[in-house]
Point group: C2
Chain length 249, copies 2
């Protein structure tokens, strides 16, 4: 695990995602808010530590985030991966500390909006409510799909599910028309995401390649050759999954 510092500096790679266009039904007020609090974070930055004081909402404009938890002995579980256009509410039930650690998986631009400003916007613009409800529903849905495979489910189906889920979500935001994308994670990260050791992630990935379902190029460039077969291995109905985790628009 690298030792990432809290960074605000501009990063190196071209950003993924198209900013405001990602947020549906965007009011001028929201656009303004996002622009005002817009910040860049380099890969591996920690935006928020778990149990830390938290008074802001995080809107991802470009790049990838990981929400993670750490065990006492320093092992990491990635609870969710956040893509451009998604919103993170880090406040837990006590409404002032964070339930999660927020880190960047690559260079990312994020609008860190203070809760007060967010609440004002919410009150002013009724359609914000719907966006939020849908965001939360999608996040619960995909978390529970992953839990299902963490509990029951082999290494193959966990990896296959993760690749399928990411693929579908990327398509929904127009990042990948074909089933071909770059995962900005190491095999270690992917292991922390699906509950496997990095060694076994490697083996599983290679088994999937050998069987021709996917192929991988340098540093986690994934090509899905047969999405239906991958979904089969994941044990997921693609249409049902899309309905559950993709906003209706």
């Amino acid at each position: 695990m690298p030792g990432p510092q809290v960074e605000t500096t501009e990063g190196s790679k071209a950003p993924v995602g198209k900013g405001d266009f990602l947020f549906p039904g965007t009011s001028p007020d929201l656009r303004q808010l996002l622009k005002t609090h817009h910040r860049g974070f380099r890969a591996g930055s920690i935006l928020k530590v778990e149990a830390e004081e938290s008074g802001a909402i995080y809107c991802l404009l470009s790049g990838w985030l990981a929400l993670s938890k750490l065990t006492e002995d320093g092992e990491r579980q990635i609870i969710d991966v956040i893509l451009p256009g998604e919103i993170v509410h880090p406040s837990s039930a006590d409404s002032h500390t964070s339930w999660i650690q927020i880190e960047t998986l690559c260079y990312a631009t994020v609008a860190v909006v203070p809760q007060a400003a967010w609440a004002r916007l919410e009150a002013a613009d009724p359609c914000m409510r719907r966006i939020e409800a849908v965001t939360i529903a999608a996040s619960l849905s995909r978390m529970s799909e992953r839990m299902l495979r963490l509990g029951k489910g082999t290494a193959e189906s966990r990896i296959a599910y993760a690749l399928t889920e990411i693929c579908i979500r990327l398509k929904a935001i127009g990042e990948s028309d074909v089933c071909d994308y770059h995962l900005p994670m190491t095999q270690q990260d992917l292991g922390d995401f699906v509950g496997l050791s990095s060694v076994h992630v490697c083996r599983t990935l290679r088994r999937l390649s050998r069987s021709g379902v996917i192929s991988t190029a340098d540093h986690m460039d994934i090509t899905i050759h047969d999405l239906d077969r991958l979904a089969g291995i994941a044990g997921v109905d693609l249409d049902r999954l899309r309905a559950e985790i993709i906003s209706a628009r």
Copy 2:
């Protein structure tokens, strides 16, 4: 797995939970709404099937619910356990099908409130917003704590965590002052909850009893003799956990 039917009949056992008193800052309107849509379900009823059309919000007044997912080959993962005073929003991102199966773990009374009525109440009473936000935050927090242990974490720590979480939540609603409660689940259910086979749940439970941390009596009566030690095995900081999953009030 039993074959539970969709039941609406009154059940047999005395209900757990005190109805309206559980919902904080309860407005007369909410009380009225809960009373109107109040229904009883016997143990093992399925209130909602996954991917089914869903147009209601479920407020649990008494008893226990399980939110579960099924794999293609019929295995079940319990995603969350719901206690009296908690609210379930089954709508997924497409906002009209359910992301989860809802079932009763014992006789339960539930207010099944149509979305329209709920939305009206939400619009009328601003404090509903806060209740909902806190409910969702708590649910995300405890789901992610469980994911952390599903991914990393031994059988012992998974079971220990589940028992700890339930204990803390029961205390918060005044159901159990001492660390002594009845779990309305079989060992199979508990296994489906923490991602273990029922056989291994049994072994783990007995190991925990033999070491004196807990003891179990007939059909899942749990007594926690040393909550701190149990929390230690679970790898959880009790105060941090309470802050994350218990509403501030």
